[in-house]
Amino acid sequence: MAAQAKYTLPDLPYKHDALEPHISAQIMTLHHTKHHQTYINNLNAALTSLTTAVSKNDIVSQLHLQEAIKFNAGGHVNHSIFWENLIPFSSPNAQPSAAPKLCVALIARFGSVEKFQEKFNAVLLGLKGSGWGWLVQDIESGNLEITTSKDQDIVPVGKKPLLGIDMWEHAYYLQYLNDKGSYAKGIWKVVNWKKVEERFESTLEGVFGTLAGLRNNL
């Protein structure tokens, strides 16, 4: 465990104001440079403490640190996935037609892309507290599923995340206030369907990319 790598804030693949008017520049700036950065800072701090605890053979401290590591690493993983599956509305990749193979699978599973989106939004609005909505693919069966994770839990083992939507209040409150239904509708205008299609066709390791090593430590 010596020389623990430090995690760093990934750049966004677009400018902070690029998702306007569906997600405001103020939200994106705070969300990326403050919230995501805080998860990374707290993760690095917890990993440093863990290194110390390991070197002292202090198993109790190691166990106490697990919660902070899980929460903050989850925050880093989830937000990294989230930024990548968004794109400005003006991009052709913001249309479902940029994901032809996935759309075939969504239609087979949910009847139509619109029905999938309705179902997904109902699941988002059913969250009780902070959390995430996910389109995942079961790795064994290949089936598509809509699921949620609470707080900063990542999608469970055996599922490959294709699309993640942040339903923490910080993700929408400055713009949508308590109207989370409008946020859930608006976010579809800036979904990067091409990226979701790439994940659909990719391995689990491919989806997590450089995060795979981190995920395996959770």
């Binding site: 705070l30 009780k128 707080d151 900063q152 910080h170 409150y173 400055l174 308590n178």
Partner: protein, 230 residues
């Protein structure tokens, strides 16, 4: 705005008693089932807690968020009554998370409004009397208690509440955190609650939640908190 926190409906008066003791909370929950839960009036104006909490936050928090919990609780309760009438136990069990979430949201916010007060109207300062004694017995002094309470608030991972509660078995007080809208019920009596959901501070403090946790002490209604100890 009305000077009393609660409308005079049975359900609302029961909600007030829910703050007084856990036995009353049990009574309140049965009378909620018979009547409709209603949104209580605030005992102060929306802007009265400034600068600790902005008027805009208070208005949205009370008129929209709290109202949504009231509506959700009434809807879930109605469905539960229908399931009861059909003796559909599975449906009743399936409704419990919704009842816990929305009923908890209603109870928690009702207690929260009541344990706040404008600085010019008794808010802030330090606890006195018996409350001061029990806090000092558990935490040494008021400043250590505040530090611990703020630490508990900061440590909440996701949405939730921090509470000063009384352990009904020992009579001692302690700080506990609760996820989402889980209410303080059972072994503990709620004394002081602080809402740590992002909607409680985001418009004013954004990600700087420690500033909200620090400012809220200027508007704590210690008399109301002490009243719950009895």
């Amino acid at each position: 705005m009305s000077a009393t926190l609660f409308r005079t409906s049975t359900a609302a008066r029961s909600a007030l008693r829910a703050g007084a003791s856990s036995r009353a909370a049990a009574i309140a929950s049965t009378s909620f089932v018979r009547g409709k839960a209603t949104l209580p009036d605030l005992p102060y104006d929306y802007g009265a807690l400034e600068p600790s909490i902005s008027g805009k936050i208070m208005e949205l928090h009370h008129k929209n968020h709290h109202q949504t919990y009231v509506n959700g609780f009434n809807a879930a309760t109605e469905q539960n009554q229908a399931a009861e009438a059909k003796q559909d136990i599975a449906a009743q069990v399936a409704l419990q998370p919704l009842i816990n979430f929305h009923g908890g949201g209603h109870i928690n916010h009702t207690l929260f409004w009541e344990n706040l007060a404008p600085s010019k109207n008794g808010g802030g300062g330090e606890p006195t009397g018996q409350l001061k004694n029990v806090i000092e017995s558990s935490y040494g002094d008021f400043s250590s208690f505040k530090t611990k309470f703020n630490g508990a608030l900061a440590g909440i991972q996701g949405s939730g509440w921090a509470w000063l509660v009384k352990d009904n078995e020992t009579g001692q007080v302690q700080i506990r955190t609760y996820a989402n809208q889980d209410p303080v019920v059972g072994k503990y009596t709620p004394l002081l609650g602080v809402d740590a959901w992002e909607h409680a501070y985001y418009l004013q403090y954004q990600n700087r939640k420690a500033e909200y946790f620090s400012a809220i002490w200027d508007v704590i209604n210690w008399k109301a908190v002490e009243g719950r100890l009895k």
